[in-house]
């Protein structure tokens, strides 16, 4: 049956309208806002003051913001390596014939079902705490006093502590996607390779990785979006500490205030927050394009 173009348009209309209303309009409005100085989120448009690219040039010259960009790139790179190494490892172990794999898979995924705020409080107050935290207690038991005396949340360690805590919770999510991808690869290849005497490593590098390229690319894009919008952990771990601040949290500070000390004089500029949002969006688009360039769509995919 052939549908006329107008019928197709009619069926597409609701989806397109919803898309325009809840995605495109806010994006365009944020873009517009980024060129203004706006004292509060609820300011009327006539209270906006046009600033041109002032918000952007302020950001580039702001060492605090630059630090936040450096932080987020580090999170993306270091956290990315940590997460993907473990996610791959677990995904492969779980696709082999290990006993109780559904149990393990659920267990590894479990942190994803807990609110990030709860997880970060657990890490901060029960694992990293230097009085009664898990690390301190365990190291003391083992007699490793030098390690036990490390304050995991001081200026030197907090950044890596945060990345470890965050990565711990994120592995399961990416593991699940990779796991599904590996499961879709026909087992014939592995059987043939096994008959030819290929080792586990050879099978991984010659069969699994190449055939997983598409899935890996998708997870990499997902990770980039997650990392560049890194927010909750930055807020709970460092408050506004420059060692842990990220552009996402910086944007929040500009729009909603720091909220740590209600009684201090705060300068709100929603416009500056909007320009951070635009920069994050642009950064994600660029990195995604690069990833697509590096991992072109494969002819063989499962």
């Amino acid at each position: 049956m052939r549908l006329s173009k107008s019928i197709i348009a009619l069926f597409l209309l609701p989806a397109v309208l919803i898309y325009l209303a809840i995605f495109l309009y806010p994006t365009l409005r944020t873009l517009a806002m980024s060129f203004y100085d706006i004292p509060s989120l609820s300011s009327k448009i006539n209270e906006w003051e046009f600033k041109g690219i002032q918000n952007y040039s302020d950001l580039i010259h702001n060492s605090y913001f630059i630090e936040s960009v450096r932080n987020v790139l580090g999170i993306w790179a270091i956290g990315g390596v940590l997460i993907f190494v473990f996610a791959f490892l677990f995904a492969i172990i779980l696709t082999s014939d290990v006993r109780g794999k559904n149990f393990w898979r659920s267990l590894i995924f479990l942190p994803n079902t807990v609110s990030a705020v709860v997880l970060s409080v657990v890490w901060l107050q029960y694992i990293f705490n230097s009085d009664y935290g898990l690390l301190t207690t365990v190291f003391n038991r083992l007699g490793l006093t030098a390690l036990a005396n490390i304050q995991w949340t001081d200026n030197e360690h907090i950044y890596f502590s945060m990345i470890i805590a965050f990565s711990f919770g994120s592995i399961g999510y990416f593991m699940l996607i990779l796991n599904a991808g590996i499961n879709r690869i026909p087992s014939d290849y592995y059987e043939a390779a096994t008959l030819d005497g290929a080792s586990v490593w050879v099978k991984f590098f010659k069969i699994t990785l190449p055939l997983l390229r598409d899935v890996f690319r998708t997870t990499l894009v997902l990770w980039t979006i997650t990392a560049f919008n890194f927010f909750v952990w930055s807020a709970t771990f460092g408050l506004d500490d420059p060692h842990t601040v990220t552009p996402g949290f910086y944007m929040y500070q500009k729009v909603f205030g720091k909220g740590t000390s209600v009684y201090s004089e705060e300068v709100f500029n929603v416009g500056a927050g909007a320009s951070v949002g635009i920069l994050i969006t642009v950064a994600i688009l660029i990195v995604t394009a690069l990833i697509n360039r590096l991992f072109p769509k494969d002819r063989l995919e499962y």
Binding site: N62, S63, G100, F109, S130, D131, Y263
Partner: protein, 472 residues
Amino acid sequence: MNKKTKSFGSLLLAVMLTLSVLAGCSKSNNAEPSAASSTSPSASPSETVAANASEGASAEASGLEGKVVFWSMWSNTEPQAKVIDEAVADFKSANPKVEVEVKYNGRDINKLIKPALESGEQIDIFEQDPGAALANLKDHVLKLDELLDQQSIGTDGKSVKDSIIPSLIEWVKSLSAQAGLEEGYYAIPQQPYAVLFFYNKALFNKAGITGVPTSWEEFLAACEKLKQAGIEPITFDDAYRSLFIGGYLGSAMGSDWTDSLVKDKTGDMWKDPMVLQFANDIQNLKQKDYFSKKIAGNKYPAGQQYLALGNAAMYLNGTWLPNEIAETAGPDFQWGSFQFPTVPNGNDKGGQQGLTFGAQGLLMNKNSKNIPAAFELVKFLVSKKAQEGMATQAVAIPATVDTKWPAPLEEAAVAFNNAKLNMPWGAGIENGADFSSGTVIPVFMELATGKINAEQYVAKMAAAAKKFYSGK
């Protein structure tokens, strides 16, 4: 693979997911009633009668009717909410025709109130920090001058205005001019707070310290005695790092100086001898181990728990501290407090006359349709009975005069009496926005943990300030 394991696995996953979903629900469930708790639980009949009798409910007030909406800054699990519920119940028994809706927003009110007022939602009374409210909401606040002359409830014929601690109500008045409003009273202060050193009296006694330190010298002597007794003298949390910097510099030079210090574009102010003196004194505290070693990694509330558990003796914080950690500290914890000690070589603009103090405020909506009934409710909220309730149940300082202060805060009265100047949070050290959070506080932590010495501190701050502001 075997089917049992699989089904067990999926069952487990299902259970976990359900739990997480339920956990999510329960959170919102908790929030919902607080948002929608339209009517406060009515007091039991006997209580109502008693309240009626004791308040001597004014006959003329009972003619009020209509609906009054009150947005509170507390959440319904906090002890303050209980006191408010009781006050509302008293109000309702005196004014049965008035319908009262209390919405417990918690501190989210700071984000919700402006859009709500602007969209014309019915809010007759709301709670806010008066300084912030007058600055942000000046088109919505009602001038209360005439209403304040009405007789207050439970204070032997005093007007509402006279029933409130004078320094507080005058402070609220001084805010009106700053906000560009016609001079007058736009808020009724409640829950006054001040930033003070809180200390564990038992530990002070154990170390043989007889009086609270008022000068820096006495402060150091007290620290030494504590250290000799095997007690860590001072601790603080990451959230309150700025208070220590501001406490010292504000005590030496006053908050205007501190404010201009963090906004100085040339960086030269950081070369002031006072900054070096500050850096030397902090270095001294670090070298003599007067700071707890944990300050480097303390994540709020780890430090205040450390104080509550009796491991450290002093903690610089707001007067809300004893209430916040009451559960850990236990009922036998003996609280004491004193102002940040006076620092030598200052410019006489700081010292004990300056204090970071303030209050929450009850404000009224200019566009309220039911001002008489709303103000009557306000009177119940600041009645002597309600304020006594705040003191006993929420360990808050009562706003009314001649009301007994809660025991943990009794010594705080000294500071309130000394105070002539109101200093901003951290004596203005956080007013440098991104420069404060990105440089001032972390570099102070390097100094306080011995990563850099006093001279390096001065050089680093001067250079960093110049660099930060060069792009502006």
